[in-house]
Point group: C2
Chain length 393, copies 2
């Protein structure tokens, strides 16, 4: 059997419009804070994995993992970049997990970052679209919001999900973000503002039925984790977080090729794999960060990962079940929607929130009795997903 | 202890100017051939790793691993892209290795490809330069050939290496490529042609002291490997190749920051790690593919990996030691120089040649009694290197 893998700690930059920071700044800053805070000698780090999607174009940089090692003064390590669309962050954690589980490494740095606000919005929208199908989607002008809208229309029709349900997700996640000093969107909103009379100027349609406040923003940001085998982790902290399960799955790349385009099969299968590996059930999860790139996804994903029955995710939102003080808190950080969604950093930011929750460091957002956490990070438009189960030590 | 990992088989496309092939073609074709030839049911594949450097710009594609899985009709797998500059291919093998060694997967597809000939040469040269230091090299206009020239000048001066030595490497590798149906440059050359009177038009300077025939070409191409735990591998072939050791190392990113810029420390340390893991010495290696992006690198690397003493690599070239029928055959495939160097595919093409040598499939290039093989794949300009030791089963 392979050995236990633990997270020693997690840190992130504030997310937002960080025009003065370079891609390297966003990778170096959380990594340095973490190494210094846990008093980790740099020569103990034997692998550096970086998740990043747009470095070539945002920063004219490839081989960013080697660059990060160099900037940190670390040499003679394995250093590689992982790219799996917006699921790059969770994929990088998965790589670190296998590196340690296989006995190859004892202590691994994972960092992820994205600069999305330097290039014009249409350039970034185009870049992000490149993860869609290279023949039947991208050349037709499909963008992530347009695919999200196709999904939303079908899903909302099938399960009688109303615009109010989507708005309630946005309101909750904005409210959570108000309690998160690292979040991008610091603005309380109400359902009335989003949908009431005159809302079309405040909250215009982007791709009907999705409106501006249904979308995660363009974000600059970075995050980092240090992972180790459990024995090594315990030499640095009394409070590590164990990775109990990781599952990854893929679905047909193009939305049109899926048996049922309202299902997110990769999400479901990745979660099932992670639960199985961890030996837990969805009921056991106390706090989760899930991939709400669009508000509708929070509802749909909450069903796919088994938190609620199909079609009942909307009821959980209505009832406040997914609020910080609810029975099943989701996206306590503010989620992609309001914490922000710097593609390559998102999976690590999700993990950071869960690590903080399980370490009792989530301050105003702290969920009581948080023992088991869960994240799901989605790549493409549901064509790839990585789920992780975490346990408080 | 983690379990033995083996390569079931390896295939590659012909390398060259493949203007009619897409990036997906170059990934799909060798993968399909391999899956069909070894009669591997696609549902047995649980992970797909893709090495690729320039997909965003060459093909307007990210998340290419998910796309490859989809094109092959494989779903519900882990699918991630690895980018480590021109060492991406070996890094992808390393990922597959850890996936299997950790017990997570039994059967993994690794594929790599690059389209370098679609965009104008200056665009590709710029893209390739992005792996250099983002502050002290790239913005100053440093390109890989210019860094190679700086290295070559210092190294040649220190060890009295003559232009004739570099030319002899090119002549050998072109000669080997004549025997390789998959190679790009099918053209016998002579030292006289490269350096004799009138050679400046045939072999002009690119970045003095490096001339055109000291450079690897711009190449389109793809390659694929299937890896498995040894038991699974033996259910598909009697002739697997065992991965006995993998080592990765990094050096200062910028050439100017290295203690001794004539050393390739990452190459040396990665090789030492791989030898140690395999329990072998450099003397034990029967056939090697090493990263001759520039001819001078074949000589320098052959010393760093312990094949020859420092300063004596040039003697090995003079004496024909590194020819196919020599004592220490290097780059029997033609190397990056003449087989071609499609960045993301190169590490897999190196592995392919070694797998074929150890499986006895190298035809006219077959090295006698090839039991132990070795590859070293370099990222950046020597800032990252991945070495692998292979053993015939």
């Amino acid at each position: 059997m392979s050995r236990k893998v633990a997270i020693i700690g997690a840190r992130m930059t504030k997310f937002g419009n960080l025009i003065d920071k370079t891609l390297m700044d966003l990778l170096v800053e959380p990594s340095e804070i973490l190494l210094d805070e846990y008093k980790i000698e740099r020569k103990k780090v034997t692998s550096v994995y970086v998740s990043n999607l747009l470095g070539e174009i945002s920063s004219r940089q490839t081989a960013v993992a080697t660059a990060l090692a160099d900037y940190l003064g670390i040499t003679d390590v394995a250093a590689e970049r992982i790219e799996n669309g917006p699921a790059s962050g969770a994929s990088a954690i998965r790589y670190a997990y296998m590196d340690i589980a296989s006995g190859n490494s004892d202590l691994v740095l994972v960092a992820g970052a994205e600069k999305m606000r330097t290039a014009p919005t249409e350039v970034v929208t185009d870049l992000v679209s490149m993860m869609s199908h290279p023949e039947v989607e991208y050349p037709s002008g499909a963008t992530m919001p347009s695919l999200g809208a196709l999904f939303a229309r079908l899903y909302m029709q099938k399960y009688d999900v109303k615009p109010e349900h989507l708005a309630m997700v946005a309101v909750k996640n904005h409210s959570n973000a108000m309690k998160n000093p690292y979040a991008q969107l610091k603005k309380e909103i109400t359902v009335e503002q989003l949908l009431g009379p005159g809302s079309e100027s405040f909250n215009p349609y982007v791709a009907e039925p999705l409106r501006l406040y249904d979308m995660s923003p363009m974000t600059d940001g970075g995050a980092a984790l240090i992972l180790a085998d459990l024995d090594t982790a315990l030499s640095y902290t009394k409070n590590p977080v164990i990775i109990e399960g990781i599952g990854e799955s893929t679905d047909a790349l193009a939305l049109q090729d899926r048996e049922d385009p309202t299902e997110l099969k990769a999400v479901r299968l990745s979660a099932e794999k992670a639960y199985r590996m961890a030996g837990i059930k969805p009921e056991d999860v106390n706090v989760a960060e899930i991939h709400d790139a669009f508000t509708v996804l929070e509802i749909a994903i909450s069903e796919e990962i088994g938190f609620f029955k199909r079609g009942e995710g909307k009821l959980a939102v209505e009832r406040g079940t997914t609020k910080i003080d609810g029975e099943k808190p989701i996206n306590t950080s503010g989620g992609l929607k309001a914490r922000g969604h710097p593609l390559g950093a998102t999976g690590l930011a999700q993990a950071t929130e869960i690590v903080w929750q399980l370490q009792g460091l989530a301050e105003q957002r702290q969920v009581r009795n948080a023992n088991i956490g869960f994240t799901v990070n989605m790549g493409g438009f549901g064509s790839n997903a990585v789920s992780i189960v975490y346990r408080r030590y």
